[in-house]
Protein backbone atom coordinates (compact mmCIF):
# COMPACT_ATOMS: atom_id res chain seq x y z
CA UNK A 1 0.00 0.00 0.00
CA UNK A 2 1.08 3.52 -0.60
CA UNK A 3 2.19 5.89 2.12
CA UNK A 4 0.13 8.85 3.22
CA UNK A 5 0.53 11.85 0.97
CA UNK A 6 2.89 14.52 2.17
CA UNK A 7 1.93 18.13 1.41
CA UNK A 8 2.81 18.61 -2.22
CA UNK A 9 3.15 21.52 -4.55
CA UNK A 10 2.42 21.16 -8.22
CA UNK A 11 2.16 23.51 -11.18
CA UNK A 12 -1.15 25.01 -10.03
CA UNK A 13 -0.05 25.64 -6.45
CA UNK A 14 -0.59 23.81 -3.18
CA UNK A 15 -2.65 20.68 -3.48
CA UNK A 16 -5.87 20.83 -1.52
CA UNK A 17 -5.17 17.25 -0.40
CA UNK A 18 -2.77 17.60 2.52
CA UNK A 19 -1.57 15.98 5.69
CA UNK A 20 -2.62 17.62 8.95
CA UNK A 21 -1.39 16.80 12.43
CA UNK A 22 -3.84 17.07 15.30
CA UNK A 23 -2.65 19.81 17.66
CA UNK A 24 -5.61 19.93 20.06
CA UNK A 25 -8.83 18.13 20.91
CA UNK A 26 -11.55 19.53 23.16
CA UNK A 27 -14.76 17.77 24.19
CA UNK A 28 -17.82 19.97 23.63
CA UNK A 29 -21.60 19.63 23.36
CA UNK A 30 -21.76 16.31 25.21
CA UNK A 31 -20.31 13.62 22.97
CA UNK A 32 -18.72 15.91 20.35
CA UNK A 33 -15.10 16.98 19.96
CA UNK A 34 -13.43 20.07 18.53
CA UNK A 35 -10.50 18.73 16.50
CA UNK A 36 -7.75 21.18 15.55
CA UNK A 37 -5.11 20.21 13.00
CA UNK A 38 -2.33 21.85 11.01
CA UNK A 39 -2.86 22.98 7.43
CA UNK A 40 -0.76 24.67 4.74
CA UNK A 41 -0.79 28.42 5.52
CA UNK A 42 -2.47 29.48 2.25
CA UNK A 43 -5.37 27.11 2.88
CA UNK A 44 -5.97 28.24 6.48
CA UNK A 45 -5.85 31.87 5.35
CA UNK A 46 -8.20 31.43 2.40
CA UNK A 47 -10.88 29.40 4.21
CA UNK A 48 -14.22 31.19 4.77
CA UNK A 49 -17.34 30.44 6.81
CA UNK A 50 -19.51 27.79 5.15
CA UNK A 51 -16.63 25.86 3.59
CA UNK A 52 -15.84 22.31 4.62
CA UNK A 53 -13.05 19.75 4.56
CA UNK A 54 -13.23 16.05 3.72
CA UNK A 55 -11.24 13.71 5.94
CA UNK A 56 -10.19 10.10 5.50
CA UNK A 57 -11.46 8.45 8.67
CA UNK A 58 -9.25 5.37 8.66
CA UNK A 59 -5.61 4.36 8.59
CA UNK A 60 -4.13 4.41 5.06
CA UNK A 61 -3.64 0.63 5.13
CA UNK A 62 -7.38 0.07 5.57
CA UNK A 63 -10.09 0.29 2.92
CA UNK A 64 -12.99 0.71 5.33
CA UNK A 65 -14.83 3.01 5.79
CA UNK A 66 -13.98 3.80 2.20
CA UNK A 67 -15.13 7.34 1.57
CA UNK A 68 -14.03 10.64 3.08
CA UNK A 69 -16.34 12.37 5.54
CA UNK A 70 -17.25 16.06 5.16
CA UNK A 71 -16.97 18.44 8.15
CA UNK A 72 -17.79 22.16 8.15
CA UNK A 73 -14.92 24.32 9.30
CA UNK A 74 -15.54 25.68 12.83
CA UNK A 75 -12.57 28.04 12.99
CA UNK A 76 -9.35 28.91 11.21
CA UNK A 77 -6.17 30.23 12.72
CA UNK A 78 -3.95 31.46 9.87
CA UNK A 79 -1.24 32.63 12.28
CA UNK A 80 -0.88 29.13 13.73
CA UNK A 81 -1.69 27.51 10.36
CA UNK A 82 -4.56 25.51 11.83
CA UNK A 83 -8.15 24.55 11.08
CA UNK A 84 -10.72 23.37 13.62
CA UNK A 85 -13.74 21.15 12.93
CA UNK A 86 -16.60 19.99 15.16
CA UNK A 87 -17.11 16.21 15.12
CA UNK A 88 -20.08 14.32 16.53
CA UNK A 89 -19.58 10.53 16.59
CA UNK A 90 -22.70 9.26 14.86
CA UNK A 91 -21.18 6.92 12.26
CA UNK A 92 -18.12 4.71 11.76
CA UNK A 93 -16.00 7.49 10.30
CA UNK A 94 -16.75 10.17 12.87
CA UNK A 95 -16.44 7.61 15.70
CA UNK A 96 -12.90 6.82 14.48
CA UNK A 97 -12.06 10.50 14.21
CA UNK A 98 -13.07 11.50 17.76
CA UNK A 99 -10.76 8.77 19.09
CA UNK A 100 -7.67 10.24 17.42
CA UNK A 101 -5.19 11.78 19.89
CA UNK A 102 -3.09 14.92 19.63
CA UNK A 103 -0.18 14.15 17.28
CA UNK A 104 -2.26 11.85 15.06
CA UNK A 105 -1.97 12.36 11.30
CA UNK A 106 -5.03 13.16 9.17
CA UNK A 107 -5.45 13.06 5.37
CA UNK A 108 -7.43 16.21 4.58
CA UNK A 109 -9.02 17.47 1.37
CA UNK A 110 -10.09 21.10 1.41
CA UNK A 111 -11.22 23.73 2.02
CA UNK A 112 -14.07 22.80 -0.32
CA UNK A 113 -17.40 24.29 -1.38
CA UNK A 114 -18.85 27.79 -1.42
CA UNK A 115 -19.29 30.18 1.50
CA UNK A 116 -22.06 32.04 3.27
CA UNK A 117 -22.53 35.43 1.61
CA UNK A 118 -23.19 38.45 3.80
CA UNK A 119 -24.63 41.36 1.80
CA UNK A 120 -22.65 44.61 2.26
CA UNK A 121 -25.77 46.43 3.49
CA UNK A 122 -26.73 43.82 6.10
CA UNK A 123 -26.54 44.95 9.74
CA UNK A 124 -28.56 42.35 11.63
CA UNK A 125 -27.74 38.69 11.13
CA UNK A 126 -29.79 35.81 12.56
CA UNK A 127 -28.11 32.41 12.82
CA UNK A 128 -30.12 29.25 13.38
CA UNK A 129 -28.16 26.14 14.32
CA UNK A 130 -29.18 22.59 15.17
CA UNK A 131 -26.60 20.29 16.82
CA UNK A 132 -23.27 20.17 14.97
CA UNK A 133 -24.77 22.68 12.54
CA UNK A 134 -23.32 25.10 15.10
CA UNK A 135 -19.88 24.84 13.45
CA UNK A 136 -20.06 26.88 10.22
CA UNK A 137 -22.30 29.48 11.89
CA UNK A 138 -19.81 29.99 14.70
CA UNK A 139 -17.17 30.85 12.13
CA UNK A 140 -19.63 33.16 10.36
CA UNK A 141 -20.54 34.85 13.69
CA UNK A 142 -16.87 35.57 14.31
CA UNK A 143 -16.43 37.04 10.82
CA UNK A 144 -19.59 39.19 11.19
CA UNK A 145 -18.77 40.52 14.66
CA UNK A 146 -15.31 41.51 13.43
CA UNK A 147 -17.04 43.64 10.80
CA UNK A 148 -19.25 45.30 13.43
CA UNK A 149 -22.49 43.54 12.54
CA UNK A 150 -25.19 42.56 15.05
CA UNK A 151 -25.47 38.80 15.46
CA UNK A 152 -28.14 36.76 17.19
CA UNK A 153 -27.19 33.09 17.38
CA UNK A 154 -29.91 30.51 18.08
CA UNK A 155 -28.85 26.96 18.95
CA UNK A 156 -31.03 23.94 19.58
CA UNK A 157 -30.12 20.63 21.25
CA UNK A 158 -31.75 17.68 22.98
CA UNK A 159 -30.64 18.89 26.42
CA UNK A 160 -28.37 21.38 28.20
CA UNK A 161 -25.36 19.04 27.84
CA UNK A 162 -25.64 19.18 24.05
CA UNK A 163 -25.23 22.96 23.86
CA UNK A 164 -22.14 24.95 23.03
CA UNK A 165 -20.78 26.74 26.14
CA UNK A 166 -21.26 30.54 25.81
CA UNK A 167 -17.50 31.06 26.10
CA UNK A 168 -17.06 29.62 22.62
CA UNK A 169 -18.95 32.53 21.07
CA UNK A 170 -17.67 36.10 20.79
CA UNK A 171 -19.02 38.28 23.62
CA UNK A 172 -20.84 40.63 21.19
CA UNK A 173 -23.15 37.84 20.04
CA UNK A 174 -26.65 37.51 21.50
CA UNK A 175 -26.77 33.76 22.23
CA UNK A 176 -30.17 32.13 22.80
CA UNK A 177 -30.83 28.42 23.19
CA UNK A 178 -33.67 25.91 23.11
CA UNK A 179 -33.68 22.32 24.37
CA UNK A 180 -36.15 19.54 23.73
CA UNK A 181 -36.25 18.55 27.41
CA UNK A 182 -36.30 22.13 28.68
CA UNK A 183 -33.09 21.68 30.72
CA UNK A 184 -31.76 24.97 29.32
CA UNK A 185 -33.34 27.94 27.55
CA UNK A 186 -36.72 27.69 25.87
CA UNK A 187 -38.30 24.22 25.86
CA UNK A 188 -38.87 23.04 22.31
CA UNK A 189 -37.24 23.34 18.90
CA UNK A 190 -34.76 26.04 18.00
CA UNK A 191 -37.09 27.14 15.22
CA UNK A 192 -39.72 28.06 17.87
CA UNK A 193 -37.43 31.01 18.67
CA UNK A 194 -37.31 32.24 15.09
CA UNK A 195 -40.60 34.24 14.66
CA UNK A 196 -39.61 37.07 17.00
CA UNK A 197 -36.37 37.71 15.05
CA UNK A 198 -37.56 37.42 11.47
CA UNK A 199 -38.43 41.08 10.98
CA UNK A 200 -35.32 42.27 12.83
CA UNK A 201 -32.97 40.26 10.62
CA UNK A 202 -31.55 41.46 7.32
CA UNK A 203 -30.33 37.94 6.60
CA UNK A 204 -30.80 34.50 8.15
CA UNK A 205 -28.15 31.76 8.07
CA UNK A 206 -28.93 28.18 9.02
CA UNK A 207 -27.26 24.80 9.41
CA UNK A 208 -28.86 21.71 10.88
CA UNK A 209 -30.98 18.66 10.04
CA UNK A 210 -33.59 18.65 7.25
CA UNK A 211 -36.64 18.85 9.59
CA UNK A 212 -35.12 22.01 11.11
CA UNK A 213 -34.84 23.54 7.63
CA UNK A 214 -38.48 22.77 6.90
CA UNK A 215 -39.64 24.35 10.19
CA UNK A 216 -37.38 27.35 9.65
CA UNK A 217 -38.80 27.90 6.18
CA UNK A 218 -42.35 27.73 7.54
CA UNK A 219 -41.58 30.29 10.27
CA UNK A 220 -39.78 32.66 7.91
CA UNK A 221 -42.48 32.52 5.22
CA UNK A 222 -45.16 33.16 7.86
CA UNK A 223 -43.38 36.16 9.38
CA UNK A 224 -41.46 38.01 6.69
CA UNK A 225 -42.53 40.88 4.45
CA UNK A 226 -41.94 40.29 0.74
CA UNK A 227 -38.63 38.46 0.35
CA UNK A 228 -36.76 39.96 3.33
CA UNK A 229 -34.95 38.50 5.13
CA UNK A 230 -33.36 36.03 2.73
CA UNK A 231 -32.20 32.72 4.18
CA UNK A 232 -29.00 30.83 3.38
CA UNK A 233 -28.92 27.16 4.34
CA UNK A 234 -25.88 24.91 4.55
CA UNK A 235 -27.24 21.52 3.48
CA UNK A 236 -25.79 18.07 4.01
CA UNK A 237 -25.72 15.21 1.50
CA UNK A 238 -23.91 11.89 1.35
CA UNK A 239 -20.75 12.82 -0.49
CA UNK A 240 -17.95 11.03 -2.29
CA UNK A 241 -15.39 13.12 -4.21
CA UNK A 242 -16.05 16.58 -2.72
CA UNK A 243 -14.86 18.33 -5.89
CA UNK A 244 -17.79 18.11 -8.33
CA UNK A 245 -16.57 15.05 -10.20
CA UNK A 246 -18.88 12.20 -9.13
CA UNK A 247 -22.21 14.09 -9.05
CA UNK A 248 -23.36 11.94 -6.11
CA UNK A 249 -24.28 14.79 -3.70
CA UNK A 250 -26.81 16.69 -5.79
CA UNK A 251 -29.30 19.20 -4.42
CA UNK A 252 -32.52 19.92 -6.26
CA UNK A 253 -32.92 23.62 -6.97
CA UNK A 254 -35.37 25.64 -9.02
CA UNK A 255 -32.75 25.77 -11.76
CA UNK A 256 -32.01 22.05 -11.76
CA UNK A 257 -29.62 19.76 -9.92
CA UNK A 258 -26.62 21.39 -8.25
CA UNK A 259 -23.60 19.80 -6.56
CA UNK A 260 -23.62 20.36 -2.81
CA UNK A 261 -19.82 20.03 -2.74
CA UNK A 262 -18.89 22.78 -5.24
CA UNK A 263 -22.05 24.83 -5.93
CA UNK A 264 -23.02 24.32 -2.26
CA UNK A 265 -23.14 23.46 0.57
CA UNK A 266 -24.74 26.91 1.05
CA UNK A 267 -27.92 27.58 -0.94
CA UNK A 268 -30.50 30.36 -0.84
CA UNK A 269 -33.68 28.93 0.68
CA UNK A 270 -35.73 30.55 -2.09
CA UNK A 271 -33.59 28.77 -4.71
CA UNK A 272 -34.12 25.28 -3.28
CA UNK A 273 -36.89 23.04 -4.61
CA UNK A 274 -39.20 22.33 -1.64
Amino acid sequence: MTELASPTQHPTGWSREFIGEITATEPVMGDSVLVTFTSPPQLAASCRAGQFVELLCRTPQSSDPLLRRPFSVYATNPARQELTILVRPFGRGSAWLVEQPVGAILDVLGPLGNTFTVAPKSKNLLMVAGGVGAAPLLMLANEAVAKGMNVTYLLGAMNAGGLLAPGHLPGEVEYIVATIDGSAGRQGFVTDLVPEYVQWADQVFACGPEPMFRSLRREVLANRFAAKPTVQMSVERTMACGVGACLGCMVETRRGMRTSCVEGPVFEMDELAW
Partner: protein, 339 residues
Protein backbone atom coordinates in the same frame (compact mmCIF):
# COMPACT_ATOMS: atom_id res chain seq x y z
CA UNK B 1 16.93 -6.59 -20.30
CA UNK B 2 18.17 -3.32 -18.92
CA UNK B 3 19.59 -1.37 -21.84
CA UNK B 4 22.71 0.79 -21.71
CA UNK B 5 20.62 3.85 -22.43
CA UNK B 6 18.48 3.20 -19.38
CA UNK B 7 21.57 2.85 -17.21
CA UNK B 8 23.37 5.91 -18.53
CA UNK B 9 23.76 8.83 -16.20
CA UNK B 10 23.42 6.63 -13.12
CA UNK B 11 19.64 7.07 -12.91
CA UNK B 12 17.95 4.24 -14.68
CA UNK B 13 14.46 5.06 -15.92
CA UNK B 14 12.15 2.09 -16.47
CA UNK B 15 10.15 2.04 -19.68
CA UNK B 16 6.58 2.87 -18.82
CA UNK B 17 5.17 3.68 -22.20
CA UNK B 18 2.32 1.61 -23.49
CA UNK B 19 0.48 1.69 -26.82
CA UNK B 20 -3.15 0.78 -26.27
CA UNK B 21 -3.98 0.75 -29.99
CA UNK B 22 -0.96 -0.86 -31.68
CA UNK B 23 -2.94 -1.79 -34.80
CA UNK B 24 -4.42 1.69 -35.27
CA UNK B 25 -2.45 4.26 -37.32
CA UNK B 26 -3.66 6.99 -34.93
CA UNK B 27 -2.26 4.93 -32.01
CA UNK B 28 -2.78 5.63 -28.31
CA UNK B 29 0.63 5.92 -26.71
CA UNK B 30 0.63 6.62 -22.99
CA UNK B 31 3.70 7.76 -21.08
CA UNK B 32 2.63 5.60 -18.16
CA UNK B 33 -0.14 3.07 -17.60
CA UNK B 34 -2.15 4.91 -14.91
CA UNK B 35 -5.57 6.21 -16.01
CA UNK B 36 -8.39 7.63 -13.84
CA UNK B 37 -11.61 5.82 -14.78
CA UNK B 38 -14.79 7.21 -16.29
CA UNK B 39 -17.18 8.81 -13.83
CA UNK B 40 -14.50 9.19 -11.16
CA UNK B 41 -12.47 12.07 -12.58
CA UNK B 42 -15.14 14.37 -13.99
CA UNK B 43 -13.69 16.05 -17.07
CA UNK B 44 -10.19 16.34 -15.60
CA UNK B 45 -10.53 20.01 -14.64
CA UNK B 46 -12.26 19.18 -11.33
CA UNK B 47 -8.99 17.68 -10.09
CA UNK B 48 -6.59 20.24 -11.54
CA UNK B 49 -6.14 21.98 -8.15
CA UNK B 50 -5.49 18.70 -6.38
CA UNK B 51 -3.33 16.45 -8.57
CA UNK B 52 -0.89 17.13 -11.40
CA UNK B 53 -3.27 15.96 -14.11
CA UNK B 54 -0.64 16.31 -16.85
CA UNK B 55 1.49 13.56 -15.30
CA UNK B 56 -1.20 10.90 -15.77
CA UNK B 57 -0.98 8.31 -18.52
CA UNK B 58 -4.40 9.44 -19.77
CA UNK B 59 -7.82 10.05 -18.25
CA UNK B 60 -11.35 9.00 -19.17
CA UNK B 61 -14.20 11.54 -19.15
CA UNK B 62 -17.60 11.03 -17.61
CA UNK B 63 -20.00 9.06 -19.80
CA UNK B 64 -21.43 11.20 -22.61
CA UNK B 65 -24.83 10.49 -24.17
CA UNK B 66 -26.50 11.75 -27.36
CA UNK B 67 -28.85 14.11 -25.47
CA UNK B 68 -28.26 15.97 -22.18
CA UNK B 69 -29.24 13.95 -19.09
CA UNK B 70 -30.08 15.32 -15.65
CA UNK B 71 -29.36 11.97 -14.00
CA UNK B 72 -31.19 9.96 -11.36
CA UNK B 73 -33.06 11.26 -8.30
CA UNK B 74 -31.24 11.37 -4.94
CA UNK B 75 -29.85 9.47 -3.09
CA UNK B 76 -27.42 8.40 -5.79
CA UNK B 77 -24.57 6.96 -3.74
CA UNK B 78 -24.12 4.89 -0.60
CA UNK B 79 -21.11 3.38 1.10
CA UNK B 80 -20.82 -0.41 1.45
CA UNK B 81 -18.15 -2.60 3.10
CA UNK B 82 -14.87 -1.55 1.38
CA UNK B 83 -16.90 -0.20 -1.51
CA UNK B 84 -19.72 1.99 -2.70
CA UNK B 85 -22.87 1.78 -4.79
CA UNK B 86 -23.67 4.50 -7.30
CA UNK B 87 -26.60 5.26 -9.54
CA UNK B 88 -25.69 8.69 -10.90
CA UNK B 89 -27.66 8.07 -14.08
CA UNK B 90 -25.13 9.41 -16.60
CA UNK B 91 -25.73 13.07 -15.79
CA UNK B 92 -23.96 14.95 -18.62
CA UNK B 93 -24.47 17.90 -21.00
CA UNK B 94 -25.03 15.67 -24.09
CA UNK B 95 -22.61 15.22 -26.98
CA UNK B 96 -23.08 18.71 -28.46
CA UNK B 97 -22.70 20.58 -25.18
CA UNK B 98 -19.78 18.35 -24.31
CA UNK B 99 -17.90 19.05 -27.57
CA UNK B 100 -18.34 22.80 -27.12
CA UNK B 101 -17.16 22.83 -23.53
CA UNK B 102 -14.37 20.35 -22.81
CA UNK B 103 -12.16 19.34 -25.79
CA UNK B 104 -11.10 22.99 -26.38
CA UNK B 105 -9.67 22.97 -22.84
CA UNK B 106 -7.96 19.60 -23.35
CA UNK B 107 -6.39 20.62 -26.63
CA UNK B 108 -3.50 22.35 -24.86
CA UNK B 109 -3.07 19.51 -22.36
CA UNK B 110 -0.22 17.05 -22.59
CA UNK B 111 -2.29 14.19 -21.14
CA UNK B 112 -4.44 12.23 -23.63
CA UNK B 113 -8.19 12.56 -23.00
CA UNK B 114 -10.35 9.50 -23.65
CA UNK B 115 -14.07 10.15 -24.11
CA UNK B 116 -16.50 7.60 -22.69
CA UNK B 117 -19.70 7.27 -24.75
CA UNK B 118 -23.04 5.63 -23.89
CA UNK B 119 -26.24 5.24 -25.89
CA UNK B 120 -29.40 3.20 -26.06
CA UNK B 121 -29.31 2.51 -29.81
CA UNK B 122 -26.54 1.32 -32.15
CA UNK B 123 -27.01 4.31 -34.51
CA UNK B 124 -26.55 6.73 -31.61
CA UNK B 125 -23.18 5.23 -30.70
CA UNK B 126 -22.12 5.62 -34.34
CA UNK B 127 -23.37 9.21 -34.53
CA UNK B 128 -21.42 10.22 -31.44
CA UNK B 129 -18.27 8.48 -32.71
CA UNK B 130 -18.58 10.33 -36.02
CA UNK B 131 -19.02 13.67 -34.26
CA UNK B 132 -15.91 13.06 -32.13
CA UNK B 133 -13.74 11.70 -34.95
CA UNK B 134 -11.83 14.88 -35.75
CA UNK B 135 -12.37 16.92 -32.58
CA UNK B 136 -8.99 18.29 -31.42
CA UNK B 137 -8.29 17.35 -27.82
CA UNK B 138 -9.91 13.92 -28.08
CA UNK B 139 -7.36 11.07 -28.12
CA UNK B 140 -9.60 7.99 -28.09
CA UNK B 141 -13.06 6.66 -27.33
CA UNK B 142 -14.14 4.28 -24.60
CA UNK B 143 -17.45 2.65 -25.47
CA UNK B 144 -19.66 1.90 -22.48
CA UNK B 145 -21.78 -1.09 -23.51
CA UNK B 146 -23.35 -1.53 -20.05
CA UNK B 147 -26.46 0.31 -21.24
CA UNK B 148 -29.97 -0.90 -22.00
CA UNK B 149 -30.66 -1.48 -25.71
CA UNK B 150 -34.04 0.14 -26.28
CA UNK B 151 -34.73 -1.81 -29.48
CA UNK B 152 -33.99 -5.06 -27.63
CA UNK B 153 -36.48 -4.32 -24.86
CA UNK B 154 -33.85 -2.75 -22.60
CA UNK B 155 -31.57 -5.81 -22.50
CA UNK B 156 -28.01 -4.68 -21.75
CA UNK B 157 -25.81 -4.43 -24.89
CA UNK B 158 -22.82 -5.69 -22.97
CA UNK B 159 -24.46 -8.95 -21.90
CA UNK B 160 -24.95 -10.17 -25.45
CA UNK B 161 -22.08 -10.93 -27.87
CA UNK B 162 -24.07 -10.08 -31.00
CA UNK B 163 -25.25 -6.72 -29.66
CA UNK B 164 -21.77 -5.91 -28.28
CA UNK B 165 -20.33 -6.70 -31.68
CA UNK B 166 -22.88 -4.52 -33.51
CA UNK B 167 -22.08 -1.50 -31.32
CA UNK B 168 -18.34 -1.99 -31.74
CA UNK B 169 -18.58 -2.39 -35.53
CA UNK B 170 -20.77 0.71 -35.84
CA UNK B 171 -18.30 2.79 -33.81
CA UNK B 172 -15.34 1.31 -35.68
CA UNK B 173 -16.85 2.31 -39.03
CA UNK B 174 -17.70 5.81 -37.79
CA UNK B 175 -14.25 6.84 -36.57
CA UNK B 176 -10.55 6.26 -37.05
CA UNK B 177 -9.93 7.14 -33.40
CA UNK B 178 -8.64 4.33 -31.17
CA UNK B 179 -11.67 2.47 -29.80
CA UNK B 180 -11.66 0.87 -26.34
CA UNK B 181 -14.72 -1.21 -25.47
CA UNK B 182 -15.54 -1.28 -21.74
CA UNK B 183 -16.88 -4.68 -20.75
CA UNK B 184 -19.66 -5.39 -18.29
CA UNK B 185 -19.05 -7.97 -15.55
CA UNK B 186 -22.76 -8.80 -15.70
CA UNK B 187 -22.30 -10.78 -18.93
CA UNK B 188 -22.90 -14.51 -18.60
CA UNK B 189 -19.63 -15.12 -20.46
CA UNK B 190 -17.22 -12.17 -20.54
CA UNK B 191 -14.76 -14.13 -22.74
CA UNK B 192 -17.29 -14.45 -25.51
CA UNK B 193 -18.05 -10.72 -25.36
CA UNK B 194 -14.36 -9.80 -25.42
CA UNK B 195 -13.70 -11.97 -28.48
CA UNK B 196 -16.79 -10.58 -30.23
CA UNK B 197 -15.70 -6.95 -29.79
CA UNK B 198 -12.13 -7.80 -30.82
CA UNK B 199 -13.44 -9.36 -34.04
CA UNK B 200 -15.64 -6.29 -34.60
CA UNK B 201 -12.60 -4.00 -34.61
CA UNK B 202 -11.98 -2.84 -31.03
CA UNK B 203 -8.42 -1.60 -30.49
CA UNK B 204 -8.52 -2.53 -26.79
CA UNK B 205 -10.91 -3.67 -24.08
CA UNK B 206 -11.26 -2.25 -20.57
CA UNK B 207 -12.80 -4.10 -17.64
CA UNK B 208 -14.56 -4.32 -15.29
CA UNK B 209 -17.46 -1.90 -15.19
CA UNK B 210 -19.36 -1.93 -11.88
CA UNK B 211 -21.32 -4.95 -10.59
CA UNK B 212 -25.03 -4.39 -10.05
CA UNK B 213 -25.84 -4.27 -6.33
CA UNK B 214 -28.34 -3.06 -3.75
CA UNK B 215 -28.46 -1.85 -0.14
CA UNK B 216 -31.66 -1.70 1.89
CA UNK B 217 -32.42 0.90 4.54
CA UNK B 218 -33.98 -1.35 7.17
CA UNK B 219 -35.54 1.55 9.07
CA UNK B 220 -37.28 2.95 5.99
CA UNK B 221 -37.83 -0.61 4.68
CA UNK B 222 -36.80 0.27 1.16
CA UNK B 223 -33.65 0.38 -0.98
CA UNK B 224 -31.21 3.15 -0.01
CA UNK B 225 -30.73 4.39 -3.59
CA UNK B 226 -33.63 6.13 -5.27
CA UNK B 227 -32.82 4.02 -8.35
CA UNK B 228 -33.04 0.88 -6.12
CA UNK B 229 -29.97 -0.72 -7.71
CA UNK B 230 -26.53 0.78 -8.25
CA UNK B 231 -23.08 -0.13 -9.51
CA UNK B 232 -20.76 -1.65 -6.90
CA UNK B 233 -17.15 -0.48 -7.03
CA UNK B 234 -14.12 -0.18 -4.77
CA UNK B 235 -11.78 -2.72 -3.13
CA UNK B 236 -14.72 -5.09 -2.58
CA UNK B 237 -14.88 -5.95 -6.32
CA UNK B 238 -11.14 -6.40 -6.91
CA UNK B 239 -10.92 -10.22 -6.88
CA UNK B 240 -13.76 -10.45 -9.40
CA UNK B 241 -12.03 -7.91 -11.62
CA UNK B 242 -8.64 -9.65 -11.46
CA UNK B 243 -10.26 -12.95 -12.41
CA UNK B 244 -12.05 -11.42 -15.40
CA UNK B 245 -8.91 -9.60 -16.62
CA UNK B 246 -7.01 -12.91 -16.34
CA UNK B 247 -9.66 -14.70 -18.43
CA UNK B 248 -9.99 -12.01 -21.08
CA UNK B 249 -6.23 -11.58 -21.40
CA UNK B 250 -6.02 -15.22 -22.45
CA UNK B 251 -8.77 -14.93 -25.00
CA UNK B 252 -7.85 -11.77 -26.96
CA UNK B 253 -4.73 -10.37 -28.65
CA UNK B 254 -5.61 -6.68 -28.25
CA UNK B 255 -4.47 -4.77 -25.12
CA UNK B 256 -6.51 -5.23 -21.94
CA UNK B 257 -7.00 -2.30 -19.55
CA UNK B 258 -7.72 -3.62 -16.06
CA UNK B 259 -9.72 -1.93 -13.34
CA UNK B 260 -11.80 -2.69 -10.28
CA UNK B 261 -10.82 -1.70 -6.74
CA UNK B 262 -7.26 -0.55 -7.40
CA UNK B 263 -6.06 1.50 -4.42
CA UNK B 264 -2.29 1.34 -4.77
CA UNK B 265 0.78 -0.41 -6.13
CA UNK B 266 0.04 -3.91 -4.83
CA UNK B 267 -3.40 -3.91 -6.46
CA UNK B 268 -2.07 -2.52 -9.73
CA UNK B 269 0.62 -5.21 -9.90
CA UNK B 270 -2.03 -7.92 -9.61
CA UNK B 271 -3.76 -6.55 -12.69
CA UNK B 272 -0.54 -6.23 -14.70
CA UNK B 273 0.48 -9.77 -13.80
CA UNK B 274 -2.98 -11.04 -14.74
CA UNK B 275 -2.46 -9.56 -18.21
CA UNK B 276 -3.47 -5.89 -18.16
CA UNK B 277 -1.28 -3.55 -20.24
CA UNK B 278 -2.62 -0.51 -18.39
CA UNK B 279 -4.90 0.11 -15.44
CA UNK B 280 -7.71 2.47 -14.51
CA UNK B 281 -8.34 3.81 -11.03
CA UNK B 282 -11.92 4.69 -10.17
CA UNK B 283 -13.40 4.81 -6.70
CA UNK B 284 -10.02 5.28 -4.99
CA UNK B 285 -9.74 8.69 -6.68
CA UNK B 286 -12.63 9.88 -4.48
CA UNK B 287 -10.85 8.89 -1.27
CA UNK B 288 -7.22 9.49 -2.23
CA UNK B 289 -6.80 11.63 -5.34
CA UNK B 290 -3.07 12.03 -4.62
CA UNK B 291 -2.70 8.28 -4.92
CA UNK B 292 -2.79 8.53 -8.74
CA UNK B 293 0.58 10.28 -8.88
CA UNK B 294 2.00 8.21 -6.01
CA UNK B 295 1.06 5.09 -7.96
CA UNK B 296 3.06 6.24 -11.00
CA UNK B 297 6.06 6.96 -8.76
CA UNK B 298 5.65 3.71 -6.78
CA UNK B 299 5.46 1.68 -9.98
CA UNK B 300 8.70 3.25 -11.23
CA UNK B 301 10.39 2.54 -7.90
CA UNK B 302 9.18 -1.04 -7.94
CA UNK B 303 10.43 -1.71 -11.47
CA UNK B 304 13.78 -0.13 -10.58
CA UNK B 305 14.10 -2.07 -7.33
CA UNK B 306 13.31 -5.31 -9.14
CA UNK B 307 15.59 -4.47 -12.07
CA UNK B 308 12.78 -4.83 -14.58
CA UNK B 309 13.52 -2.80 -17.69
CA UNK B 310 10.02 -2.50 -19.04
CA UNK B 311 6.56 -2.73 -17.61
CA UNK B 312 5.66 -5.06 -20.48
CA UNK B 313 8.03 -7.62 -18.93
CA UNK B 314 5.57 -8.23 -16.12
CA UNK B 315 2.30 -8.01 -18.09
CA UNK B 316 0.71 -11.45 -17.93
CA UNK B 317 3.52 -13.14 -15.97
CA UNK B 318 1.01 -14.74 -13.60
CA UNK B 319 -1.09 -15.94 -16.53
CA UNK B 320 0.47 -18.95 -18.29
CA UNK B 321 -1.95 -18.76 -21.22
CA UNK B 322 -1.65 -14.95 -21.64
CA UNK B 323 -2.30 -14.05 -25.31
CA UNK B 324 -2.29 -17.73 -26.13
CA UNK B 325 -3.09 -18.41 -29.74
CA UNK B 326 -4.19 -21.98 -29.24
CA UNK B 327 -6.29 -21.79 -26.10
CA UNK B 328 -9.93 -22.63 -26.69
CA UNK B 329 -12.84 -20.86 -25.07
CA UNK B 330 -13.99 -24.07 -23.42
CA UNK B 331 -10.59 -24.53 -21.79
CA UNK B 332 -10.66 -21.08 -20.20
CA UNK B 333 -14.14 -21.73 -18.88
CA UNK B 334 -13.18 -25.18 -17.64
CA UNK B 335 -10.33 -23.70 -15.59
CA UNK B 336 -12.67 -21.14 -14.12
CA UNK B 337 -15.20 -23.67 -12.93
CA UNK B 338 -12.43 -25.79 -11.45
CA UNK B 339 -12.54 -28.72 -13.84
Amino acid sequence: MVTEEQQSGGQWVPDFTVDLAPDNPRELVLRNPVIPASGCFGYGIEYSGIVDVQRLGAFVSKGITPAPRSGNPMPRITETPSGMLNAIGLQNPGIRGFIRKYPPIWESWRVPAIVNISAEAVEDYATMARMLDDVPGVAALEVNISCPNISAGGYCFGWDPVMSSEVTRAVREATTLPVIVKLSPGAVDVIEIAQAVEDAGADAVSLINTLVGMSIDTRARKPVLANNTGGLSGPAVKPVAVRMVYQVAQAVRIPVIGMGGISGLADALEFFMAGASAIQVGTAVFSEPGMLIRLIDDLGEWLRANRIASLSDIVGVANPRFHSTTVRHSEIVAEMVGQ
